[in-house]
């Protein structure tokens, strides 16, 4: 089905307005809020601390443990039952993997670093907003990182390749394909990729290219948020 104009008037390769803020949870060692359109994610980092049970410990480095959660009132329909479910567990796992290549925790063998991601309001793209917030929170915490991680959903709405799908686009009656990706902005490498829907090879390629380009814009927003807290330090 044809999708010729986006509901909110955006260009097809345009993200929704973004807002990022670092240091929003005073108790945490690092924290951030990331908003894209109406999706709002908060992330906070605690640790490194001792990890139990012991068999989970890694001898040479710390374990990164992510915890993705939607607040009960943040869904688009009925109340989300509190507690973990299969979806939130899977997302937590893929988010951990998205940070694995950039985060160096070898200074803290056998320890654990916890990242908590909470969604306050959702309009699709929650895991991507969560990753953008977590990336800033980990940087705020001061861990060694080779790069930030930027994430956005790209895909297909009807017959049109788009980036940053909102809920109305995900639910498009003519069908939609949702491809969340996480990108390392300096190298362009991809650390998270999921897809559900039906798409041709050509459209997939185009979607990934547009997603990568969008991540550069997200990167700029993240850098600005870090600069706002740390001034010139973050420029290097």
């Amino acid at each position: 089905m044809k999708y010729s104009k986006r509901n909110d008037g955006r260009k097809f390769d345009e993200c929704r307005p973004m807002k990022a803020e670092v240091g929003v949870v005073k108790n945490a060692i690092g924290s951030a809020k990331f908003q894209i359109g109406k999706t709002v994610a908060v992330a906070a980092v605690y640790g490194p601390k001792d990890l139990f049970p012991k068999f989970l410990q890694k001898p040479n480095t710390a374990r990164l443990r992510c915890n993705y959660n939607m607040m009960a009132f943040s869904g688009s329909g009925e109340r989300v039952r509190p507690g973990t479910n299969r979806r939130s567990k899977e997302i937590s796992m893929v988010v951990e993997k998205a940070f694995e290549p950039v985060l160096d925790l070898s200074e803290f063998p056998k320890a654990v670093v916890d990242v908590y991601i909470e969604l306050i309001q959702t309009d699709a793209g929650t895991r991507c907003a969560g990753i953008c917030a977590a990336s800033l929170a980990l940087a705020d915490a001061g861990f060694d990182m080779k790069d930030l991680v930027c994430a956005v959903s790209c895909g297909l709405v009807g017959d049109q390749v788009v980036v940053d799908l909102d809920k109305s686009e995900e639910d498009f009656e003519g069908g939609a394909v949702d491809i969340p990706i996480a990108v390392l902005p300096r190298t362009g490498e991809i650390t998270l990729l999921q897809l559900d829907g039906e798409i041709s090879k050509e459209d997939l390629h185009k979607a990934i290219q547009q997603g990568k380009a969008a991540c550069q814009k997200i990167y700029a927003v993240q850098q600005a948020a870090l600069r706002a807290k740390y001034g010139q330090e973050a420029k290097q």
Partner: protein
């Protein structure tokens, strides 16, 4: 970490860690509609460094057999490990359960919400309000913060549209949830031999006892809860109630 001895010694010198008076709250901010896209009503409350958010989600359910024409509320507080190094993941702790129940009681017993107005069809369909509260940053006084944020979120709430006996969550009506009273909570804490309000986390750890008192605008008490390991005398309870009455009158300003 700030020690109990330090806090107690300051109190004998009539002061507190941040220089506040014993009956002085930190700066309170209330923001509405923080999850307007998702929730039927939502709010954020900051008391100093303590920040909590709440959302109201509404569902249609069957009424209790003994109250066929009444809707109901359910208050749930989840102590997110995101908000404090002292909270852990897992099933709700007893602290979370107590907070949920005390917050629920204040609203329910004051009859601030007319449950009969939440009836859609007697014996068949009533509105259920789920009020979910989450701390974002915890620095003491969650009892009062949860009470404030729950009321703010309900005040913000509008009914969603009913289409063919089902809720269309994408269409909100203009009808506000009928909140007729504001049952405000003030928790009075006994540290050493002194009563104070709005403690920081460190002050809470140094406290011997606490008493939460919920007042409506007509001066009626509608819920109470004593906590802590130490007893309170009759005189102390009345002193705490008196202080709570004075402070809830002041808190009311934030809702005009």
């Amino acid at each position: 970490m700030i020690s109990r001895e330090y806090i107690e010694s300051l109190i004998t010198q009539h002061t507190r860690v941040d220089g506040r008076k014993f009956d002085e709250y930190r700066k309170i901010e209330i923001e509405y509609g923080i999850s307007a896209k998702s929730a039927e009503g939502s709010a954020r409350v900051k008391i100093g460094n303590t920040e909590v958010v709440a959302g109201v989600k509404m569902e249609l359910g069957t009424p209790f057999p003994d109250k066929p024409d009444e809707g109901s509320i359910m208050v749930n507080v989840e102590l997110l490990p995101l908000s404090s190094p002292f909270f852990e993941s897992g099933p709700p702790s007893i602290d979370a359960i107590e907070l949920s129940r005390v917050t629920d009681r204040g609203i329910r017993e004051s009859k601030a919400l007319d449950f009969k107005k939440l009836c859609v069809r007697k014996g068949e369909k009533v509105w259920l309000l789920f009020i979910d509260i989450y701390p974002i940053n915890t620095d003491g006084n969650l009892f009062d913060a949860c009470n404030l944020v729950a009321l703010a979120a309900i005040r913000d709430a509008v009914f969603p549209k009913i289409v063919d006996d089902k809720i269309d969550y994408h269409e909100k009506t203009k009808t506000k949830v009928p909140l007729t009273k504001l049952p405000l909570a003030c928790t009075v804490w006994k540290v050493g031999d002194t009563f104070l309000v709005d403690p920081s986390e460190a002050e809470e750890r140094a406290a011997n006892a606490r008493l939460s008192v919920v007042f409506t605008e007509d001066g009626k008490i509608c819920a109470m809860q004593k906590g802590g390991d130490f007893p309170l005398t009759e005189e102390e309870i009345m002193e705490a109630v008196h202080l709570a009455e004075k402070k809830t009158k002041e808190l009311r300003r934030h809702f005009t």
